[in-house]
Symmetry: C2
Subunit: 136 residues, 2 copies
DNA sequence: CTAATCCTTCCCGTCACGGGAAGGTCAAGC
DNA sequence: GCTTGACCTTCCCGTGACGGGAAGGATTAG
């Protein structure tokens, strides 16, 4: 299989696949012409990576997941720990976003949104009376 | 005021302040020694930027917000539109995170998390039976 | 033979800075 | 006057996870 075939079948852009090889996530063979020659196992790994990335795992987390996936002697506890840590990361990010949202929504709700220049959003950002800061 | 003073007073790192000057968000004066000489108005802008960044606005959004802030003839509708667009962006991001969370949580809940190698998380990522993809 | 479509590597750009080197300046203490 | 230490300056590289595009070789269809 050439790169375009695995790209289509895995749903990943060719650029991404080359990048994954560059950082050592996959090691496709090479044909006599210098072209990458992907095996089914490479395609399989790429699909795995695509799904893991789609769930928000970082590349380094994906690397560990892939290592666990290939390690027949793994303990499912290790996989679960990795996944739960990631769930926790997402929880934190959501909380941050929600906090920012709440603050901004409050400012927005007090803004007339008309042709006049008076704007509680701007005075809030300028450190006016409202509680505007987004300290984490 | 030298950079360290504005850094302390604005809560922004000196590196960030230099960066903001480099991209034209602020234009502090320069002393004879080449040092940046910050006015109160510069400090004020930096605090504004710090709060806007704290609410998750991108640098370019901050640039527009600052321009609106300095434009006495602005319409509050323009500010509100910018803020509401950002609220919408956050809404989308939260929804994405929640979707990923839900999928991963489902996989995690079916994982024993013990010393055995069988792991629904890995089989899910490998494209097994479960619904694992995180297509957006 | 040509044209189109692949493939390769290489390098720069993204976003919002952080780290650190090399070197100039300033204020305090001796 | 001299040193010490805390400042300041610019410059360049690194981050994460790729995307865009150039320059050039390979393959395939007609």
């Amino acid at each position: 299989m050439n790169i375009k075939d695995v790209a289509e079948r895995s749903g990943l852009p060719a650029k991404t696949i080359r990048y994954y090889e560059e950082i050592g996530l996959i090691r496709p063979l090479r044909g006599a012409n210098g072209y990458r020659a992907f095996r089914e196992s490479d395609l399989h790994k790429l699909s795995f990576l695509g799904r893991a990335r789609g769930l928000g795992f970082t590349i380094e987390e994906c690397r560990r997941l892939l290592a666990l996936y290939e390690d027949r002697g793994r303990a499912s506890a290790d996989v679960k720990a990795l996944a739960e840590a990631h769930l926790q990361d997402m929880e934190v990010k959501i909380a941050e976003l929600r906090a920012m949202q709440a603050t901004l929504r409050d400012l927005v709700d007090h803004c007339a949104g008309d042709q006049r220049p008076d704007c509680p959003i701007l005075t809030g950002l300028a450190g006016g009376k409202g509680k505007a800061a987004g300290c984490h």
